[in-house]
């Protein structure tokens, strides 16, 4: 395997996705959960740019990447707002304490 820019980027995407999902699987802190989501989004942004590079459509994927960043910021903001509201109403940020709905 050679260390061409595309391959390095792909490695980065894989790594970030792995980190993100590992985090989602293990962390119980809501703030960290939102951060993990952001890590995943960064992975996709990197992935989109790489894809544009490979197919020669860089201008297209760059604009897509910017859109993704904007859109996912909104999600992150709502996620954080939920976290705050949960901290207020439930008094915890531990996701395992947020499992009253089951069965």
């Amino acid at each position: 395997m050679n260390f061409s820019p595309v391959n390095i980027c792909l490695l980065g995407v894989t790594g970030l996705v792995a980190v993100g999902f590992y985090g989602l699987l293990t962390t119980r802190n809501l703030i960290k959960v939102v951060i993990m989501l952001q890590i995943l989004v960064k992975a996709t942004v990197l992935g989109l740019i790489t894809a544009g590079n490979k197919s020669g459509q860089l201008y297209l994927t760059q604009s897509m990447a910017i859109t993704v960043i904007v859109a996912d910021t909104i999600v992150a903001v709502i996620g954080m707002a939920f976290a705050i509201q949960i901290r207020r109403q439930v008094g915890t940020l531990d996701t395992n304490d947020l499992s009253s709905l089951r069965g």
């Binding site: 989602l24 809501l30 992975a43 992935g47 989109l48 976290a83 009253s100 709905l101």
Partner: protein, 496 residues
């Protein structure tokens, strides 16, 4: 450039949504202002919808380029728009009393109208990335609506789970889009279909689409958010979520996957596999639930399963009846599940919410409800029996159409799947029927006796929807104008 009439059914809700919010802010009784404005906005959209539907029938599919993004209005768009409009209008009418005591109603109606517009837009796009944007916008509006009771711990819990899981799914969709762009270099769905060749990367992209959109579509085992969200949201939103939002996810999935239909023959069996899994798990989970809305939520899994079987048949056999059946079921499910949630919601309102109480509605609460609330009880029963597929109700007819498609393939495996689906349909009676029996008991429960009166405005949507279910059940070809173009559109996008 002339703007085609169908563009207005996207634009109108989107531009009126902020208007609903601002008008709602004026005056003291914010809820009523906002609701009336939302109704007006929807009425205007209905006009555009009727014109667009006529235009589609007369002139066929029409396209529009906005910058480099291509939009088109075909049968599938019409179907999604129709379900969204029908359900949305009923929900707005229904919510007036339901939310009368809540804060932030103007946000609720604004978000609801926006969600309707966004979903119609989702149906109209012909661009892979644009599809994701609409999808994400729909997700954002639905997060806020699910967690509408922002001071209730359970509501927040459902909201955050929904958000995290959906966001994780949407990341997978983006990765898939990246793979598609890397391989083909285009985003237009038609162009992708023409350039896509079988390659591992595109196979992987397809799988990522299935899982990514599958979270929203509630494919088992990605469904875990659904029972929480559906049971905790205000009943109107439960109806929207179950009746149209998860179906919108399914349509997004179909649009993306159909662009990759040339890559492999694996998609059809995959969809059917998920269909079977959804039916089995949904049924077993719905059995033994004590909460009405949670039971209905799990039953949504089952019905997504039926749709997947019809659409899977369409994918693997290029069979138009399967597609038509799947979409017919999508429409009837919207009506039936919408009605079930609204009827249960009307009971929840009279028994709990109007007392300022946010406890869940239990099976036991409804004992003997028919005595005090005959219409709510009757419509709830109709919805449940239609969901269980008893003739002559709409749910039976749409299932039948799926089954016809399955058996027409003359494929032993698919016939077995059809028999299995029928078996599941029978099984579902085991949890629907006891509820109906409880409702028709002679001795009302204490809660029913102390319940409030059910306002006539809330009965209206219930009765109209029940009437629709019966009418379609007796005369199933009534909806052909809707389902046939949708089926043809899917097949066209499969290149068939």
């Amino acid at each position: 450039m002339t703007v085609p009439v169908w563009a207005w059914i996207i634009v109108l809700p989107l531009i009126t949504s902020p208007l609903v919010y601002f008008i709602g802010h004026l005056g003291k009784s914010r809820g009523i202002f906002a609701q009336r404005t939302a109704l007006l906005a929807l009425a205007a959209t209905w006009v555009a919808f009727v014109l667009a539907a006529q235009d589609l029938q007369l002139n066929g599919i029409s396209r529009l380029m906005v910058g480099s993004i291509s939009l088109k209005f075909d049968g599938l768009s019409l179907l999604l728009a129709m379900i969204a409009m029908v359900l949305g209008s009923f929900v707005v009418v229904f919510s007036g009393h339901y939310l009368a005591n809540e804060d932030g109603q103007e946000k609720y109606y604004a978000m609801l109208v926006a969600m309707i517009g966004v979903m119609i837009g989702l149906g109209c796009t012909n661009d892979l990335f644009n599809l994701w944007i609409w999808f994400e916008a729909m997700a954002v509006t639905s997060y806020l609506l699910v967690a509408f009771y922002k001071d209730l711990p359970t509501s927040l819990e459902a909201g955050i789970k929904y958000l995290v899981q959906s966001a994780a799914g949407s990341v997978l969709v983006l990765l898939a889009i990246g793979l598609v762009v890397a391989e083909t270099g285009v985003l237009n769905l038609d162009e992708i279909r023409q350039t896509a060749e079988s390659s591992p990367a595109l196979m992987a992209a397809g799988i990522l689409f299935v899982i990514g959109y599958g979270v929203k579509t509630a494919l088992v085992p990605l469904h875990t958010w659904l029972p929480d969200a559906h049971s905790q949201a205000p009943s109107g939103i439960s109806a929207m979520l179950s009746g149209i939002v998860i179906e919108a996810g399914l349509i997004a999935l179909l649009r993306s996957l159909s662009a990759l239909s040339g890559v492999t023959t694996f998609w059809g069996p995959l969809l059917m596999g998920f269909g079977i899994l959804n039916m089995v798990v949904g049924n077993l989970m719905a059995l033994g639930q004590a909460q009405v809305k949670r039971m209905l939520a799990y039953s949504s899994l089952v019905h997504v399963g039926y749709m997947l079987i019809g659409l899977g048949i369409a994918f693997s056999m290029s069979d138009v009846i399967g597609a038509q059946g799947g979409f017919f079921h999508m429409f009837t499910h919207g009506l039936m599940k919408g009605l079930a949630f609204l009827a249960a919601g009307s009971m929840l309102y009279t028994l709990h919410i109007s007392m300022g109480d946010h406890r869940p509605l239990l099976f036991d609460d409804l004992a003997g409800a028919a005595k005090r609330y005959p219409w709510a009880a009757l419509t709830l029963s109709i919805a449940l029996f239609s969901l269980a597929g008893l003739p002559p109700l709409a749910g039976f007819m749409s299932k039948w159409q799926i089954f016809v498609a399955g058996v027409d393939t003359h494929n032993g495996w698919i016939i077995a799947v059809v028999a299995f689906a029928a078996l599941n349909s029978v099984f579902s009676l085991a949890y629907y029927a006891p509820l109906v029996n409880a409702v028709y008991r002679c001795e009302p429960s204490a809660i029913v006796l102390s319940g409030k009166r059910l306002p006539a405005v809330m009965k209206l949507p219930l009765m109209l929807m029940a009437l629709g279910i019966i009418a379609i059940g007796i005369w199933p070809s009534l909806m052909n104008w809707l389902t046939e173009p949708a089926g043809t559109a899917l097949l066209a996008s499969l290149g068939g």
